[in-house]
């Protein structure tokens, strides 16, 4: 399966080269587009003289062959090339419309397809070459709405042609202010100096008492647990059902929703269900690639991405309706979160990406592991300079490394994680690597908590609740 995929990439490599040429010459394509757009609108009255049955297939065929050649276009029917630095986001294996994701490799390549450069890093470099960056602000910063999948295979040119120039300018929506959340986590984040959340990977069991017991041990020292949704692309018990058990037992879980396995119908249904069950906190994720997990043959869904998911849930809460306009009886009261990766190789892009998530609706941020305070500082200075720490509560992700070997495995296998060599050497030399891993984690916590703008910590220790307790106690955060 995986071998097949790399063979395919080899065959299409020349096409990929043309695509990166287009990104390098984004300014050229921008000029072409600016000339082409009035031409399209001008052509409209002439084209309407011909029957649609003739014009549509013709335009579609021309558009397809041209854009497929230069952009590896997939004919999604809703072209955003001019907002994405002439790099087509549909070539992203997660078809993210607001990227990049947090899984970009250290060499700038894709998490899912290791031989391909990240489509979204390309997009940002393309955007930098375009004039609209200077003139109208960066178009790449525009929050893209969920893609209309019913347009699949249709011509975007015809859509543009039939669009009123006036309409496109007036898409900005009036945003209604959010009410203060009733979530206990929201309250704690606002009242406590340090709030602690922990990642909960439930065991593969159908016994509710075992599921609850695992979370309970984390809740002895933490304020809330995040219940993962198919973490790492592996099949585990559904986040909604575990959160249901936790909510029924009187806890305040953070339900993670990933876009990998469900389309917007299922996701919105789950969100309504969560609301009815009293689950308030939802962490929105794009989700890991399918190839990382135990079902490599599964179909990647990615109907939404993290940002469009946030926007969808925010609309449900603040406007009491679905994005289609259909009303909801008793709108849900969500406290919405998103993820960040402070070790991302391009901190500027990462900060802009989180700004987009906050614009879309994120009220709190939980980050991926960060093992290097210097790298973190570099990112966080930009983040606070942008004022983002005042717009959303920020929780730094930390966790223990159990050995140098485990650290190396994480660095090589979990996308987006960076662990400095010095840290691995320190572990290697330690007499008791496990204890050293905990000491490192405690030191990191102390370093992070010295910085201004940190609301709390998100602790990730895969199925080792006793380590979480030890870390929290040794850091002097809880007794």
């Amino acid at each position: 399966m995986l071998k097949m995929a790399s063979a395919d990439t080899a065959i299409i490599a020349p096409v990929g080269r043309l695509r990166s040429w287009s990104v390098r010459h984004a300014r050229f394509w921008e000029i072409m587009y600016q000339m082409f757009l009035p031409l399209l609108r001008f052509a409209r009255p002439i084209i309407t003289l011909f029957p649609d049955a003739f014009i549509r297939p013709l335009t579609t065929a021309v558009e397809r062959s041209l854009k497929a050649t230069f952009f590896d276009c997939n004919m999604c029917g809703d072209c955003v090339l001019s907002s994405t630095g002439m790099s087509c986001p549909m070539n992203c294996p997660k078809s993210i419309r607001n990227g990049p994701c947090g899984g970009v490799r250290e060499n700038g390549n894709c998490e899912v397809e290791p031989d391909m450069r990240c489509v979204w890093l390309d997009a940002w470099s393309g955007a930098a070459k375009m004039q609209n960056a200077a003139k109208n602000g960066w178009q790449i910063n525009t929050l893209q709405t969920p893609l209309d999948r019913s347009l699949d295979g249709q011509s975007s040119w015809l859509t543009v042609m039939n669009e009123n120039a006036h309409d496109t300018a007036a898409t900005q929506k009036v945003v209604s202010p959010s009410k203060p959340s009733t979530s206990p986590l929201f309250k704690k984040l606002n009242e406590q100096s340090v709030t602690l959340t922990a990642e909960y990977n439930p065991p593969d069991t159908t016994d509710p008492s075992k599921i609850l017991a695992g979370a309970q041990s984390l809740l002895e020292v933490c304020d809330a647990v995040n219940v993962v949704d198919g973490a790492g692309g592996n099949t585990h018990i559904s986040s909604l059902s575990v959160c249901t058990l936790l909510a029924q037992a009187g806890h305040d879980p953070v339900m993670q929703i990933s876009c990998r396995d469900k389309n917007r119908i299922a996701i919105q249904g789950e969100a309504l269900g969560a609301a009815a069950l009293g689950i308030k906190n939802i962490l929105c994720l794009t989700g890991d690639g399918i190839n990382a997990g135990d079902q490599p043959g599964a179909k990647p869904v990615f109907d939404l991405d993290c940002s469009t998911l946030l926007g969808t849930l925010k609309t449900m809460r603040d406007e009491g309706q679905f994005t289609t306009g259909k009303p909801i009886d008793t709108p849900p009261d969500f406290y919405l979160g998103a993820t960040a990766n402070p070790s991302a190789i391009e901190p500027e892009i990462e900060v802009e990406r989180i700004a987009k998530k906050i614009e879309a609706g994120a009220q709190f941020i939980q980050t991926q592991f960060c093992f290097d305070p210097e790298v973190f500082q570099l990112f966080f200075d930009r983040y606070t300079a942008r004022g983002l720490h005042e717009q959303a509560k920020f929780l730094v992700g930390v966790g223990p490394l159990s050995s140098a070997k485990a650290g190396l495995w994480m660095r090589n296998n979990i996308a987006g994680i960076r662990i400095p060599d010095s840290l691995l050497e320190r572990l290697e030399k330690a007499h008791d690597q496990k204890a050293e891993g905990i000491s490192i984690c405690v030191e990191l916590i102390e370093a992070y908590l010295k910085m201004d703008g940190i609301a709390g910590l998100h602790i990730m220790a895969f199925q080792q609740p006793d380590k979480v307790t030890e870390i929290v106690r040794r850091a002097g955060l809880r007794t």
């Binding site: 399966m1 995986l2 969920p146 893609l147 209309d148 999948r149 019913s150 065991p203 593969d204 069991t205 159908t206 016994d207 509710p208 075992k210 949704d229 198919g230 099949t235 585990h236 018990i237 559904s238 909604l240 059902s241 575990v242 249901t244 058990l245 990998r260 396995d261 469900k262 389309n263 917007r264 119908i265 299922a266 249904g269 789950e270 309504l272 269900g273 969560a274 609301a275 009815a276 069950l277 399918i290 997990g293 079902q295 490599p296 043959g297 599964a298 179909k299 990647p300 869904v301 109907d303 449900m316 679905f322 289609t324 259909k326 909801i328 009886d329 008793t330 709108p331 849900p332 009261d333």
Partner: protein, 320 residues
Amino acid sequence: MTDYSPPVQSPLVLKLLNGETTFTVEISPPIAGSKKSLLDQAESLKPYIDAINVTDNAGASVAMSNMAASALLIANGHEVILQLNCRDQNRIGLMSDLLGAAALGINNIIAVRGDDPEAGDHPHAKPVFDLKSHELIRTAFEMTTNGIVPAHTMKIAPSGVQSNTKSIDEPPHFFIGAIDVPSLAGNEVWASRLHKKVASGIRFIQTQSCYDVEFVRRYLEILEDEGLAENLFITVSNSPLVSAQSAIWVKENIWGADIPDEVIARIREAKDPVEEGIRICTEQVKELVEMPGVAGINLIERQNAESISAVLQEIGAENG
């Protein structure tokens, strides 16, 4: 083959095994972020039925997740039948829902394909269709009988080909069913599909709405001829009609639901069409209950909750 007896975890299954007729009502959860309307409706049905059948974003329109709705119903003492569609989730999502369902105490599952998104209120959504319904059935079956999360593919790792099955602590006890359309019965495609589902592990069939008792009789005969009747419990769906107009709508819009012209005419000519709908449904249900091979009755709620209660009361009075 699929030689297993249905798990006797659920009272519904016990009743079926004892040869008693079961009564279920199929509902679609509300488009709401609160539980009240769902629980009120369920409460009114409780005295008359054995289980509530909860649809999964039926007609490709978004409603409260049926997992959440089922959890609420179970917490309030109802037994549920959970429908799962293949349209909205890939196999990872479906399998995590199956595990979650078991943890929430859901034992009865119906696997459906699901209508295309164009049919519903979110036509812009991406249709998933990663698994076919018989594959979903097989998945639930393997979880039950072998206690594993099955692998549909092998994973190629640097160390070689690995099978990714993993075992489940406390395996689920699913009683698995499928929806069948009697009006298709008899043709070859129908037969091969149903055989495939049976081989994959279904133990009961819930029919699409049937408003013609003779039709059901013929359907049961065909199942007998195909050798399918022996291992399956057949529950027949019906629903009280409320007007000639809605009857025509059902006939034209619900796939596989056939309403004879005489029935529509009876409703149209009646002084009180709602009363007449209740009367027709009651008559048909009484006849179906007596029919050998009919294991249960499923009444589908389509904005006719009051009529359904009336029918159930009539039949309950009769049985009592």
